[in-house]
């Protein structure tokens, strides 16, 4: 089919250069897929006219599932008939994005048969995204995915496909088993993942330590970030080795410590761990000398999201420290209560972070039966506008407590 490729002088420019070229990829796929040939044509037109040519998707999907497929149609179906349908399918990646070649090849085979032959590895939520197919192919694809045990991911107002950093599989800093937790939660919430029933989407992301390599604090409604409660594990000889090796420990480590809790007397590093903020910096700089403590778990935060429409949010602390051990029951109980309250009282298209801001964190905590703790706030209130719910009446005992 290569001879049938449209004329794409603008896109061809993007075959040059050292960074891998998506145009080469589409052309590679276009050798087998007429969809990709038309995609090139439509894209070249976009590059010329400076505007996209996709239409809002209707609801398409596979039977029994409420999400996982994004419907997409060309606005120029006459000109580019092979992309008149161009839906994506979100396939739930294995935790940590590990594959063996057997599994990957099988996916390629399915996609060669039923789709455009181009993919995103991965989508920015974490799914293995199969990019471009027709409505009538959706069921057959799902059929084949079943056979190789790959299921569909989330879309719409449901639990979105959870993702995690590689954690203990390769990283010495993982304070809990992110891949195990990510898989466990994904399995636990299959129904919520596949059948939208919330006011809006709900994302989970699991990072093994405060470096947060899956950006969970910025991109997930519930962020589970590993941390530790005891002292940093310290190997003084290795610290010295770093310094002897040329590390400017005062400037590069101590002066960057946000807890201002480190001191170096020329021989020994002192860390006042009671003021350490678990930021990871010193550990990052001296991985052979310093390690997270041994009493490990996670900080659970709630509510981050992109800006639409109340402004972007970062997640905020819900549980300062929790042990992350299967079956994670205490946490799952809290999640149930959060979903209950949010589903009951959240507005349409209101993410949980926006919901908390609207109803007030104090009220939200009461509703989900979690005690307020100082770790939840950057600082206490600055304004004196306090809603006391009770007041003394004249005939109360003057010494009595309010309420």
């Amino acid at each position: 089919m290569a001879d049938k490729l449209p004329n794409t002088p603008k896109l061809d420019e993007l075959e040059k250069g050292k960074w891998p070229s998506f145009v080469k990829e589409i052309k590679m796929a276009a050798k087998k897929s007429p969809m990709c040939a038309d995609l090139l044509g439509q894209l070249e037109k976009s590059y010329t006219e400076k505007v996209g040519y996709w239409k809002h998707g209707g609801i398409v999907g596979v039977m029994g599932y409420g999400g996982g497929v994004i419907g997409r149609y060309s606005a120029l179906p006459k000109e580019f008939p092979n992309v008149s349908h161009f839906h994506t399918m979100r396939v739930n990646q294995p935790a940590g994005w590990y594959y063996n070649t057997e599994a990957l090849r099988k996916i390629c085979d399915i996609w060669e048969k039923h789709g455009s032959g181009i993919t995103n590895l991965h989508g920015s939520t974490g799914d293995l995204v199969l990019l471009g197919t027709r409505t009538e192919e959706l069921e057959p694809i799902f059929d084949e995915l079943q056979k190789i045990n790959f299921d569909i991911g989330g879309s719409g107002s449901d639990v979105r496909t959870p993702s995690c950093c590689c954690g203990q599989s390769r990283c010495e800093w993982a304070c809990y088993d992110t891949m195990a937790a990510c898989h466990d939660f994904t399995m636990e919430y299959q129904d919520e993942l596949h059948r939208p029933a919330f006011p809006y989407k709900f994302k989970f992301k699991f990072s093994g330590c405060p470096n947060d390599c899956v950006a969970s604090i910025a991109r997930s409604d519930m962020s589970l970030i590993g941390t530790w409660r005891d002292s940093i594990q310290q190997d003084d000889a290795e610290v010295k080795a770093y310094v002897d090796g040329g590390l400017d420990i005062e400037e590069d480590v101590i002066s960057r410590c946000p807890g201002k809790c480190m001191a170096w007397d020329g021989k020994k590093l002192e860390i006042d761990n009671s003021f350490c903020r678990r930021c990871m910096h010193c550990i990052n700089v001296m991985p052979k000398a310093l390690r997270p403590g041994k009493d490990r778990g996670a900080t659970i935060l709630l509510g981050s999201k992109a800006p639409i429409v109340e402004g972007a949010l970062l997640s905020s602390v819900l549980i300062p420290f929790i042990k992350m051990e299967a079956p994670y029951q205490e946490l799952k109980d809290i999640i149930e209560r959060i979903w209950d309250v949010w589903s009951e009282e959240g507005k349409n298209r209101e993410r949980v972070g926006e919901f908390i801001q609207r109803v007030g964190m104090g009220n939200f905590l009461e509703a989900i039966e979690v005690e307020p703790v100082a770790e939840m706030v950057a600082h206490p209130r600055e304004n004196p506008y306090i809603f006391y719910e009770e007041f003394f009446e004249e005939d109360d005992d003057e010494e009595g407590d309010k309420g």
Partner: protein
């Protein structure tokens, strides 16, 4: 009447300050080179010209009688060529080029009952307001609480044994005339009971639409009550700001059982080191317990001493707490963290802890 208006001057403004400047000040105006704190409550400024100016700062109750002012004048005549000034925190300052006058002046001041101090790393006078002495809006007294607290903290006024400056302010209601919102320690009178409405008179003394509009939480709605056109308050929406009372006297909030004092910490005004900061809620409620408000004096002393013991040099209360983090502050102070500490006003979301920077 028109004639009376004509011979009457208006808008002539305050007297020009120059006539009130001691000669040494006038001569060295704009030429001061440096200063040193000589001892508690006394500093000397040295001019490019070599001239010296001693300042003795004494506590003043701010609420002072004319006879006390006359006594001050006697001292100023005796030691300072008839000049005297007051500070932005309402202390009185005696200025003189004569070093030899300093000690006798201090002795006379102390004999009069006016401690000398408040300069340098010390606690200065408490900026405060009217309270039950003059204001209709007060949820606590001002002068009484201030007197009780400063009696208790007097050592920190008279000596310089603190890590940095510590500024205390008091306001007797949320209007915050004492501008307590940026103080190391702020004492704030609060109401905790919704306005009790004088339905019979409301219409006579207030405009109902203005009144409804005055409520920031829209808790006030026009209503006919007991046959009077009046308003009703949705009590669960009231956060006791008293803005309704400011615009309408028929909505009093004062209530002996529910009024009291809240304590706020960590604000500052100066740009030294850290940018200016607002004070934050520490203790939500302490009872009005006149005449000596023992719960308040104890709470303030505990806060002062906790800070004094733990802060680094020059670290103001808020800078110290920022370094150690609020959870540690609550743990170290023994103050219980409660729902009311969590902001739920307009920008509340920005006060949530949006990182994992935690201490354990």
């Amino acid at each position: 009447m028109a004639e009376a208006m004509q011979e009457r001057r208006t808008d002539y403004g305050p007297p020009h300050y120059e006539q009130f400047l001691p000669p040494v000040v006038k001569e060295n105006y704009g030429k001061w080179k440096y200063h040193e704190i000589v001892k508690p409550g006394v500093m000397v400024h040295v001019s490019e010209s070599g001239a010296e100016l001693y300042t003795v700062r004494a506590a003043s109750g701010r609420l002072i009688s004319i006879d006390k002012i006359r006594m001050y004048c006697d001292l100023a005549d005796k030691y300072c060529d008839g000049y005297v000034r007051f500070t932005s925190r309402h202390n009185i300052e005696f200025l003189t080029p004569k070093k030899e006058n300093v000690d006798p002046l201090i002795k006379d001041l102390k004999d009069m009952g006016h401690p000398v101090g408040g300069i340098g790393n010390a606690i200065s006078a408490i900026v405060h307001t009217q309270g039950w002495v003059h204001c209709h809006s007060a949820a606590t007294d001002a002068s009484g609480v201030v007197k009780a607290v400063m009696d208790d903290l007097i050592e920190y006024f008279e000596e310089r044994k603190l890590p940095g400056k510590l500024r205390i302010a008091l306001a007797c209601c949320l209007n915050m005339c004492g501008a307590v919102h940026c103080s190391d320690i702020a004492i704030l009178g609060i109401h905790r009971r919704p306005p009790r409405i004088d339905h019979a008179n409301l219409k006579k003394v207030c405009e109902i639409p203005n009144l409804s509009a005055s409520c920031p939480t829209a808790a006030i709605r026009p209503a006919e009550v007991e046959g009077h056109p009046s308003v009703e308050v949705l009590e669960e929406q009231c956060m006791f700001c008293a803005n309704c009372y400011t615009v309408c006297p028929a909505m009093p909030l004062a209530d002996p059982l529910n009024d009291g004092v809240s304590i706020w910490v960590g604000g500052k005004v100066s740009n030294a080191r850290h940018e200016p900061m607002f004070s934050k809620l520490a203790i939500p409620f302490l009872p009005n317990n006149p005449p000596r408000w023992p719960e308040v004096t104890e709470a303030v002393r505990n806060l002062v001493e906790l800070w004094a013991k733990n802060a680094k040099k020059y670290e103001r209360m808020g800078e110290w707490i920022e370094r150690i983090g609020w959870p540690k502050f609550f743990k170290m102070s023994g103050i219980e963290f409660e729902k009311v500490h969590i902001d739920d006003f307009k920008h509340a979301g920005l006060t949530f802890k949006r990182s994992t920077h935690l201490t354990f």
